[in-house]
């Protein structure tokens, strides 16, 4: 066997070598931008040079043939350059305005919907799921594909009050992050423990320390060191499962899907917000999750019809109030919506501000 090669510990490469030459020319010298049509951005530099960006949706988990198709399009229209966005959309840039229309047609013909700009529903950011994760409760790729099929017109048009960022996560770790709408797995039963495996696989003190409600304790089961869960305390979060796979949290029936709304990272207008629980107990109904799609579409339609221009989902709800939100979306309000976690009292209404 030949000697192992030492890595070149180079970190990230410089971006400019990959950028469209017009971006390099005008780096840091942009004057303004606008959106000539949905799916298209125009950035104009201080020199007057304009760059047109056409944005399109992808499936994120891409086979090499799909990536080569995107490369073919970039070679034809964009001097061989392209970039991706944080939400896995692809952006093609050109200085030639006459290329915009054929570029859009080529992308659409190749199956990539053009859109995701301005006040649209962007591509749903998502996690690995059953395809690759070791702890997933669902398959985010499938949920996202099924939902984007239904929301594709909202992606292609800019008809929303403000941008809508939807995220999905296959467990409560919530790798998908905050969203105007977040679609996350919510387990409803404590882990099922395979006691025969625990002592061989799990570092028990680390697992005990991982539990947010101190519900796990050491136990001797059938003469073997193992762990047990105080099921009255357990919040079914699944935090014990990654460090201890014999504590199986995923369940085909009891791992449900919950919908959260009103999260945002930006400090634009209002301060950043966490998303809030609005619906839970939805079935993990592969392959197309119709119950989830129904709730998401209802929330989106209500927001679209009622929010003022530029109100993000969370800002709209702050204005109209939660009673009105539950009334308009026809979602049931339960004791589980009332925050019981540490600091949760801050989420109670400590005022005489009431909605009727």
């Amino acid at each position: 066997m030949s000697e192992l090669r030492r890595p070149n510990e180079t970190g990230v490469p410089d971006s400019k070598q990959f950028m469209h030459p017009a971006l390099v020319r005008n780096y840091g010298k942009w004057a303004w931008h606008d959106r000539p049509q949905a799916g298209v951005l125009r950035h104009v530099s201080e020199s007057g040079e304009a760059v047109y960006t056409v944005k399109a949706g992808t499936q994120r988990q891409m086979d090499v043939f799909t990536i080569r198709t995107l490369c073919d399009i970039a070679d034809k229209f964009c001097e061989g350059h392209l970039r991706f966005t944080t939400r896995s959309s692809v952006e093609f840039m050109t200085t030639d305005e006459t290329q915009v229309k054929p570029l859009i047609e080529t992308l659409e013909k190749a199956g990539f919907p053009v859109g995701g700009t301005g006040n649209s529903v962007g591509f749903i950011s998502h996690t690995q799921g059953w395809l690759h994760c070791d702890i997933p409760g669902t398959d985010a790729s499938g949920v996202v594909k099924a939902l984007m099929d239904e929301l594709v017109d909202e992606f292609k048009n800019e008809d929303m009050p403000n941008r809508v960022k939807i995220t999905t996560s296959c467990c409560q770790i919530n790798c998908g992050g905050q969203g105007d709408i977040a679609i996350n797995v919510q387990h409803t039963k404590p882990p099922v423990i395979n006691h025969a495996l625990v002592s061989g696989v799990c570092e028990r003190p680390a697992v005990i320390a991982r539990c947010p409600v101190a519900a796990i304790r050491p136990a001797l089961v059938d003469g073997k060191p193992s762990l047990e869960v105080d099921e009255k305390k357990c919040v079914c979060c699944g935090a014990c499962y990654p460090p201890c796979p014999p504590m199986q949290i995923n369940d085909p029936v009891n791992s449900k899907i919950a919908i959260w709304v009103g999260g945002k990272h930006s400090s634009t207008r209002s301060k950043p917000m966490f998303h809030k629980l609005v619906a839970a107990g939805l079935p993990n109904n592969a392959p197309r999750w119709p119950e989830v799609a129904e709730v998401v579409k209802k929330i989106l339609a209500t927001y679209k019809a009622d929010a003022r221009p530029w109100e993000r989902m969370g800002e709209w709800i702050e204005r109209i109030g939660w009673p009105r939100f539950f009334e308009m979306t026809d979602l049931p309000f339960t004791k589980y919506h009332v925050d019981t976690w540490r600091g949760g009292r801050a989420n109670l209404n400590a005022s005489a501000h009431l909605h009727f």
Partner: protein, 416 residues
């Protein structure tokens, strides 16, 4: 003799509809006859269909790596390997892209060729941290695939309890609103932390993200332990001719509704001649009016960064939003970027020394208090760090006079 494509009735449902289908992509790979990755993908399709049928995942982790590094390969061994032996090992290589996710097609094509030869042919652009996820590699192919990707000038991303791959917005490459060079900041920070990325030895993960303004397109505020956001100190730039044009375009009522009324601090007014009145002292640099009036309004010229620390999701104490640690720092010269890198290292060292196992920076600060964190980093206190002063009287204040002296000293030295 190659195996037949498995029957996948549930996955087939995800080939319908207008959005690009990842299932169709998986099948394309499984059908590339004669290529080793076709067999892997047949197994993978079988296992994924099995997951859809039984609503459970069947991957377990493990330890697979490349020579010289302690992280970056996400090992996946199948728990149902006897049924789907071709994809019994399906590891991921996390590779860091250039900041801002820029590519030329030569690079992408070369990556595709490598992954077709050594892996499954499935690539996620990108993972939630911002890595290129080369998904699906047998153990013995990990090192040869890595050698070629590394040879192209790309390096492994982070995993586990170390510094993670960073993310940044498009920045000055294509945005007039970027208040600093997010791409250079990203590169400067990450390339000075390669040891902590590749050989994780921290209490838990540490993430940096870079957004050019308060719009936070890199989703930094809640998703990064260290969120670097662009801002400015002087007055915002107003082109009153363009303001008038925007008033005309929207109509006066809608301009008031969409711009004036939406200002979170009531810092805007519309003058009688349809020009904009800005109270820059009340402005919080939120970006709203600038987003609406992209031709008329721009951030000011005295630009720099604010740093928010401690953002994270639920595990373990609950969700935390990043909070202000540094309200303003210039970020223009090489020295400025060096100062940022220095601060990043100070934050990492403090975290490594003081956080408990599996505790994130935000949880550590919550436990020890912001004042102690500031003292540890030798950073000055600033009123911008709070949303309001304390409301609870249970605090010992016998050091008050000394603190007042420090405050006055800081104020007079700032005035000099």
């Amino acid at each position: 003799m190659s195996k037949k494509l498995p029957s996948t009735p549930m996955l087939d449902e995800l080939e319908k509809g207008p959005w690009p289908s990842f299932v169709t992509g998986l099948k394309r790979l499984a059908k590339s006859e004669g290529k080793p990755n076709a067999e892997i993908m047949k197994g993978l399709l079988g296992q994924l269909e099995h997951s859809y049928q039984t609503r459970k995942g069947y991957w377990k982790g493990g330890t697979v790596g490349v020579f010289g590094y302690g992280a970056g390969v996400i090992a996946r061994f199948s728990e149902v390997a006897s049924q789907f032996p071709e994809s019994s090992e399906f590891h991921t290589l996390r590779i860091m892209p250039a900041p801002g996710f820029f590519y030329d097609t030569k690079t992408l094509r070369e990556m595709c060729d490598i992954w077709e030869e050594h892996g499954s042919g499935l690539i996620a652009l990108h993972g939630q941290s911002g890595d290129i996820m080369f998904q699906g590699c047998r153990t013995e192919q990990v090192q040869p695939a890595w050698d070629k990707l590394n040879g192209m000038g790309f390096d492994m991303g982070g995993a586990g309890a170390g510094v993670r791959t960073a993310a940044s917005c498009v920045g000055p490459a294509r945005c007039e609103q970027a208040c600093y060079d997010t791409l250079t900041a990203h590169k400067s920070i990450i390339n000075s932390f390669t040891d902590d990325i590749h050989r994780p030895s921290l209490p838990y993960k540490m993430k940096f993200k870079f957004s050019g303004c308060a719009n936070d397109c890199a989703n930094a505020t809640q998703r990064a332990d260290v969120a670097v956001l662009g801002t400015w100190r002087d007055d915002m730039q107003v082109d009153q001719t363009e303001v008038k044009a925007k008033v005309k375009q929207l109509g006066r009522k809608e301009f008031i509704n969409q711009v004036i009324r939406m200002c979170p601090t009531q810092a805007l007014g519309l003058n009688d001649d349809d020009t904009l009145d800005v109270d820059n002292k009340s402005c919080v640099r939120c970006m709203h009016c600038i987003n609406v009036c992209t031709k008329a309004l721009k951030p000011g010229k005295d630009r720099g960064i604010a740093i928010l620390v401690g953002g994270k999701r639920t595990l373990k104490i609950g969700d935390l939003m990043g909070t202000v640690l540094v309200p303003f720092m210039k970020m223009e010269t090489e020295e400025d970027f060096e100062k940022l890198v220095e601060l990043g290292h100070a934050m990492l060292d403090f975290f490594a020394d003081n956080a408990l196992e599996h505790e994130r920076t935000g949880e550590m600060i919550e436990r020890i208090g912001l004042a102690n964190y500031l003292e540890g980093l030798d950073l000055p206190l600033d009123v911008n760090m709070i949303s309001q002063p304390r409301t609870n009287s249970y605090v010992r204040t016998d050091g008050w006079d000394e603190e007042v002296r420090k405050w006055n000293e800081t104020k007079s030295s700032a005035a000099e």
